[in-house]
């Protein structure tokens, strides 16, 4: 299980720590745009990455790795944040592999506690349902986090790989500067929806 790996090291969280937040866009076709927002801490946008994955495919993990590693931002990045662990429908992101292949800690953020029974039934209609479920389960333990921005807001749920739970919590809290979700994910979502629909909408 990813988030109890021996390789976890303590994360040094500076205020301008470079965080890449990745979100997907709407399911409008078979190719789904994914957007990465490179942030300095919770403060400002330093770069934008874009790639494409297959709707309900199995190429999400490798596509994200290929989007990140050749980027000029790669050497400065310290954390990857994902909007959940399935992108573009049920294209599962293997956060353990993503951590291993990039050397970067990964934190996946969810607004709701995942309903595994519902996910498992949905996967039955897709190829390789067991393989997808294995990747989803591999993300390990789920923790609840209340972000600093608004103590009254609903909590977030996180999964992580390559860092300690406490550090995963801290980086989520520290980057949630403008709302109750981390700024790199809020902005990746605004960009992804704005580009696809012509105007940004909703919440990451």
């Amino acid at each position: 299980v990813g988030n109890i790996s021996d390789k976890n090291t303590r994360l040094h969280i500076k205020s301008e720590i470079r965080v890449l937040g990745i979100d997907d866009s709407a399911l409008l076709s078979d190719r789904i745009m994914i957007v990465g927002a490179v942030f300095r801490g919770g403060d400002w946008l330093d770069g934008v990455l874009r790639s494409e994955i297959t709707r309900d495919g199995m190429d999400g993990t490798d596509t994200i790795i290929q989007m990140i590693k050749p980027s000029k931002h790669f050497v400065q990045l310290r954390v990857i944040m994902l909007d959940g662990i399935t992108f573009g429908g049920f294209n599962p992101i293997d956060i353990v592999k993503l951590n291993e292949e990039t050397g970067l800690p990964v934190v996946a953020i969810m607004r709701k506690y995942p309903d595994f029974e519902k996910i498992e039934s949905a996967l039955e209609y897709l190829p390789e349902p067991e393989k997808r479920m294995d990747i989803i389960k591999k993300a390990g333990k789920i923790a609840e986090v209340t972000t600093f921005a608004d103590q009254r807001a609903s909590p977030l749920y996180i999964q992580w790989a390559g860092l300690e739970e406490e550090d995963a919590r801290r980086i989520v809290q520290q980057t949630s500067t403008r709302s109750n979700i981390p700024e790199p994910l809020r902005v990746a979502h605004l960009i992804a929806t704005g580009i696809v629909f012509g105007e940004s909408r909703g919440k990451a």
Copy 2:
């Protein structure tokens, strides 16, 4: 001439004033993506708009008006900033019309003082060169602005419509929080290049 219009009123510049920065993307095809970044002052991204204009066309002004007016952000916007007054090659943006039809002050920002002779020769190879040149000249007086972010940096050049020169200078300076160009334009540029090339590049 736009920037000496009688209708100019003094602009009340609050720290969270909503500014829309618009930039175009690279000339990769005949349809050029334009991106609008809705900012709160120089601080944070509030929304993303996207539309498309014709390379070397004449549809830039109307497309920008149509991108802005139906937006949910429209009622909150107080200023429009443009990366220059020609988009997508030589598609000229009529800043006086843009101001009149949206009711919003417009500031166009350039990194270099425009070379009108060079522009005029280039326009000879396009349809309606006089009409394009008229739109470009209509933008009026050009002023030099040094932004606060780095006094040693090269100055910017601005043209404006629907506000006083002093207010145009102030809003450019006040929103240049992270670099020597206004944050709404810096971010619109990162998004436009990131989406088109897969990774953001260069300066607005």
